[in-house]
Symmetry: C2
Subunit: 638 residues, 2 copies
């Protein structure tokens, strides 16, 4: 029996269409391409997908919805899109807060210094045409010439390239530039002396995808491109996407892999065309991403990653033909997927590892890579440890009352006066701080991860927050309020916002951030104990979030152990840097393979010290130990 269809229209985006009766509003939005925020991936726990039904017939309100929808809102027709099912034709209005914005993606290519030694090399040869006296086949003729001129032995040729070999050689008058992969496979030929050839390094983040188009002749980045990961509608974080797959075992994986491949193809096309190149000019690619993104990109079921013991399908690096992945670049191009360390420490962390190369140094570095998850590396040339911290989604703005992603309108910088507790802040997408312009022009929508860190650190320094993590109820400020859930502190007044409500930070928001920073901090402490060090020589903050967070305020908050601030560095997208290095230098691939196996993965959740360390690490700031640098910061401010 065919299911009955209902009509649905989403406002203000205007997306409309028919869907099966009984689907949820969120499912309909996903089908029709209407952008509704869904941080928890439809698990009814984030409340971000609150929409308003203007007209139509929906399933009755569920008790879970009442948690997120006030009685007044209920009367206005507000519902959670992940729960309300369509029983008839419906008109849905998506409020600003629930609309998914294009995240601001700052994944510009950092200057990296690396010797050029790419997997692809170009060789120019001139051949004698075949004759009756020497009628040797085209491939053997070419191989002999490459062996004689360049010492290349035992060459193979990729099959689609072989198909074109006879015409390519003849139309080029037997004078060609030959592109050879890893000194062992001919993958392309061009007539005459051909100068430039290209590759792409990709960083597949849970939320954002960045690509770096590089000239493999000189190592220059000639263009960059980025997009939201098109899998976001299936869940904002890794676990939500794995949950989606568990609920859609039939076609879920194919759907999600298809989305990322299709998205990559259009991103690649627009990026190469922006510099007058063709996708066929791309002869090599490298890929990093966390283990789940790695698996989904490859079309491998990531479900075992979601269940203990969290084992991945493969650790080692992979070389796969672009055509086997459906990537529309040169058909003979190889896609090198970097190795992974463990179920929760993926190829993205290996990218960070080879980009920062702590294993080449005497000094002990702590590298913190915070994307949607937190991964830590600690060590030096003697020994290297890694672990994964369940930071929770607080740093990405989820599970906070006014949290949002780093999108236009998000508060990203906060200063709080220690004298009158007045707040100055800056939102993404505007140059000026609040105090520099008209309050009405700001149109803040929420607070993003780096904004939360700053806000809480500033609250602490200004005395709004006590050292036990509670909001100081004795403060004499209109910004301090008490409601049924306890105290909250107003960061932005309703009139400064686009959402018509005060943007506040509550005790439970502080608690969520404490959980996240506690996970990072306790992870670092257990690693330091394991390594037997008491001081860090260097702290490196990597990843989208890591690049934005203010090192001083992060340390005040206790996100990482004590370290001289002049040795704390933000390195931006180090995972992407690692992908680029592996693209430009084949030795880096061997290094990645070796280090991914050598780094010792520490499973925090089963570590005997974990619970105690985690509880200790929840304090803001953590001053139980001897912390000279942190103390000096706090004293300086007092």
């Amino acid at each position: 029996m065919r299911k009955k269809k209902v009509n649905i229209i989403f406002q203000p985006c205007g997306k409309r269409g028919q869907v099966e009766r009984g689907k949820t509003i969120l499912e309909a939005a996903q089908e029709l391409g209407a952008a509704i925020e869904s941080v928890c991936g439809g698990k009814h726990t984030c409340g971000k997908c609150k929409v308003r039904a203007e007209k139509g017939r929906l399933s009755p309100l569920r008790p879970e919805e009442s948690k997120f929808i006030r009685e007044e809102e209920q009367k206005q027709g507000y519902r959670l899109a992940c729960l309300a099912k369509l029983f008839g034709d419906t008109l849905i209005s998506i409020p600003d807060e629930a609309r998914r914005y294009q995240q601001v993606i700052h994944k510009e290519a950092r200057k990296i210094s690396i010797e050029l030694n790419s997997a692809i090399k170009a060789y120019y040869v001139e051949l004698l045409p075949p004759s009756l006296l020497e009628p040797l086949g085209d491939f053997e003729r070419l191989s002999c010439a490459l062996a004689n001129a360049y010492g290349l032995k035992n060459l193979k040729i990729d099959y689609p390239t072989l198909q074109n070999l006879p015409q390519r050689l003849r139309s080029a008058g037997w004078k060609v530039t030959v592109f050879v992969w890893m000194d062992r496979e001919i993958i392309d030929l061009q007539p005459g002396r051909f100068e430039d050839f290209y590759g792409i390094a990709m960083d597949l983040g849970t939320t954002t995808v960045a690509i770096y188009l590089c000239n493999l002749k000189n190592g220059q980045v000639v263009a960059t491109g980025s997009m939201m990961n098109p899998q976001v509608p299936y869940g904002e974080d890794v676990m939500s996407r794995i949950s989606y797959l568990m609920m859609n075992p039939e076609e879920g994986l194919q759907l999600m892999q298809g989305r990322i491949i299709k998205g990559l193809n259009s991103l690649i096309q627009s990026t190469v065309e922006s510099v007058q190149l063709s996708p066929l000019d791309i002869l090599e690619m490298t890929v990093v991403g966390n283990t789940a993104m790695h698996h989904i990109f490859l079309g491998i079921d990531p479900q075992p990653l979601g269940l203990s013991p969290f084992s991945p399908s493969i650790h080692r690096s992979l070389d796969i033909k672009a055509r086997d992945l459906g990537l529309k670049v040169h058909p003979a191009a190889n896609v090198h997927v970097l190795p992974i360390e463990a179920g929760f420490v993926g190829a993205d962390n290996v990218g960070v590892l080879i980009a920062e190369a702590p294993y080449q140094k005497e000094e002990v570095s702590l590298i913190i890579d915070i994307g949607t998850n937190g991964e830590l590396i600690l060590g030096n040339k003697q020994r290297l440890l890694s672990c994964s911290c369940a930071t929770g989604p607080a740093f990405e703005g989820a599970h906070l009352r006014f949290g949002m992603r780093a999108a236009p309108g998000a508060i990203e910088r906060v200063r709080i006066s220690s004298t009158n507790w007045e707040v100055n802040y800056k939102v993404i997408g505007q140059e000026k701080w609040k105090d520099e312009g008209m309050a009405e022009e700001i149109q803040a929508r929420g607070i993003c991860g780096s904004g939360i860190i700053e806000a809480i650190a500033e609250m602490l320094k200004a005395g709004v927050l006590e050292k036990n993590g509670r909001i100081n109820g004795n403060l004499s400020s209109p910004r301090l309020r008490k409601n049924e859930n306890g105290y909250e502190f107003v960061i932005a007044w309703a009139k400064e916002t686009a959402i018509g409500q005060d943007i506040t930070i509550s005790t439970s928001d502080v608690r969520a951030v404490q959980l996240g920073k506690g996970a990072l901090y306790s992870g670092a402490k257990i690693m330091m104990k394991t390594l037997g060090v008491e001081r860090l020589d260097k702290v490196i903050l990597a990843g989208g979030f890591g690049s934005y967070v203010d090192p001083e305020r992060a340390m005040v908050l206790g996100m990482f152990p004590d370290c001289d601030l002049k040795n704390v560095f933000s390195v931006g997208n180090a995972a992407g840097d690692g992908a680029r290095m592996a693209l430009l230098n084949r030795e880096k691939r061997l290094e990645a393979e070796r280090m991914a196996r050598q780094v010792e993965y520490i499973e925090l959740t089963t570590h005997p010290d974990f619970t105690e360390e985690f509880i200790n690490a929840m304090s803001i700031p953590h001053l139980k130990d001897d912390f000279p640098y942190l103390k000096s910061i706090l004293q300086e401010k007092e």
Copy 2:
């Protein structure tokens, strides 16, 4: 401007449809799938595509057509399908002679004795499931187990197989049979102990395609399948197909490759299903074929093979994933394409070479492989030569007035009385000889290659043919006739045929066979001179034609030099045997690679002795030299 369409109907097959106005009848037949004989591939030289236009409007008769169509036939509407163009709606009747029949394909698998050592090996392992203490990835877990139990090192895994790895291992409870290719790549997993696994050896002939489905566990042939090469509509021989490509440079190659791949897929499917298997059970394939079939199968332009210096695109063997070729077997299956020796000595001859292995023996063997072309191998363990002979199409029944392929109704055996010159013969598809039944039941349609050899050898022995190749005009027999082109001899009277005409052999038919056998004979003589031998220890007749020809009569005709008849052997489809050996034993692949480069290819056309030897070799029989065995045969009969 869109071209106007015309309607066309073919009788008696009933195929009908619309084609563009201005297309030839042959093109329309190819489009609509009506089988019209086209031995020359549309080059207007064979006259085999004579059809009758019952109704309709065609282009005016061309002078080239008059050569093949008598005035009386012209009045009846006969035309050459390759020349007559459709100017309006038309009804075409295809006479029996022009109808293409399913060739009789006898490519049963010969028993071959070979040690089983296939490219695929099966290994059973039981793994410990992952745990938090040992959360190693699935692939590494499996690799370690295979290394510990079987010493397999540095294993890779094919990408599509990796995609299924997590589910396969878990659903099998971590007890699996692993299929490993060449001890280096995991290509499949099956739950538990899995017993049988399969491969296919393919022989891609110009005219026929044969496949052998083998159990790789025990080496048994479990089924065979064969079909006409679906490229036949584009030309019956190699040169016609290359000509077709020259005339259709845009899409010709893709079209022809698509045809053979599609044909193979349905042949594979029906063959495996005949023994209750699935195409997915096929884990490995081997392929032989002449150089042009090899190139077209691989989608490589074979045009350089048609022009001096006839150089191929590649000599060495190839390993290509079935999925890259579009072959619908197991997606990770490898297709091993055997190497080729030279432009005219292809992978089929390499198959013959490794099947007969003359390089392992002291005795000097001459191997004659006559398919649509003739290839010779001469030598022993000291030295090996090969050459290609342009035998012309006479042995396949083309270019002879009543020649036809080895299809039902073709005369294949002939006996002529030395006393009254009466003829007895046998046609393909009937058990009885003519003299054993009713003359009217025979329904002969023409003479195939082996029939021609026998007929001419018998004519010689009976004195119908003089030793200079002329028909004896003094014979007193109603079967001897003279017309404007000289003498002809009637093999079958009109009443015994399905074509309503006497089937005859004329002086020009004898001349065509002389050209063919002269090419083989002179090739053998030049090779014997080069090798420095005067006697052959052994003659091996291979290939479809070689298996049918009567050794004694072939020697009488002078197809090969003198040899003791008890050392002349028919080995059937030795090329297919070679493909099977390479499927069952990987060492044979190395042997093929080595021998294909080691055998010395002799280019006959530029050899200084060729013209003289060729002229000498035209005599029937060739008795200038000292031929004890041939003399004894001829004396015996006198």
